[in-house]
Symmetry: C2
Subunit: 168 residues, 2 copies
């Protein structure tokens, strides 16, 4: 088996959800969309979040050592678009949304279907991203009976198609 | 926001696919199901795979430093069941399946919808699992127009519900 299809066509067949990661540090607050999140351990209960270190919210994330994952539901494309846009990096994207702080202080979207309250326990370089191993210390279901959004549902909303190498 | 729902009810709202990880080292071959896989970098093209180090195939995985991810499609529950069972740890689960070796030697299910050929570049402890950062060096689409399986579709096939702590 030596035939290689394009990295984009192959990697889009991995399944991911779509999430809004909320961070707060001092008086600053930020939020961004993320798809590269997965559970990695049962006990302790750990998730891994892969983050672009060039992102405007990255210093808030590492400074606070904590974040909240708001899980978007199917059909919440407008919320994804609001937090996924690259314009307005200096504005607080939560300001126009209904939100509440998690126990750790990070902002949670009240309209998400659920949230996880996370504490960073280790950070590892991962190519052009940083991988944050994080303990889930709490969370709640906010809307019952709505399925989580699939990242594939968002099309190329985040413009990521252009970031894949054209071939192996 | 201090209400905490159960870890199981919250974590099942993260979206994952279902995959068969194939490994080969020397004359030995093995395969197991995995859901905790996500892309983590564009350039280099990296994925993270979280693996239980007590798994029978773990020594093959670390010995070979390579593996193949066969991506299961919707409806392929029988394949998931075959590779997900905990019985018969010493048998070659590929023996009764149609398979071919990837360029790196790891077995790929011919009936999967696509596969990724991976090389381990770093390994980090992650609670009760080990996180394998791995470069995707090739792969191919095997079946067009079939959507990937969602892990949620498998119910409690792998018995993982019992592995979550009952509360935070």
């Amino acid at each position: 088996m030596t035939q290689n299809d394009s990295p984009l066509s192959l990697l889009r067949r991995l399944s991911n959800g779509l999430y809004v990661v909320g961070v707060a540090h001092g008086i600053k607050r930020g939020g961004f969309t993320a798809a590269w999140i997965t559970q990695v351990s049962f006990d302790p209960l750990l998730v891994a979040l892969s983050v672009n270190p060039g992102h405007a919210s990255f210093p808030l994330l590492t400074g606070a050592g904590a974040f909240a994952i708001s899980i978007l539901g199917q059909g919440q494309l407008e919320l994804a678009r609001h937090f996924g846009t690259q314009t307005g990096r200096s504005i607080d994207k939560f300001a126009t949304q209904r939100w509440q702080p998690a126990a750790g202080g990070a902002p949670v979207l009240s309209d998400a279907i659920a949230y996880l309250d996370c504490r960073i326990v280790a950070c590892h370089p991962a190519g052009d991203h940083e991988l944050m191993l994080s303990e889930v210390v709490g969370g709640a279901i906010l809307t019952e009976d709505v399925l989580p959004m699939n990242y594939a549902e968002t099309g190329n909303l985040d413009g990521s198609a252009a970031l894949y190498p054209p071939r192996f």
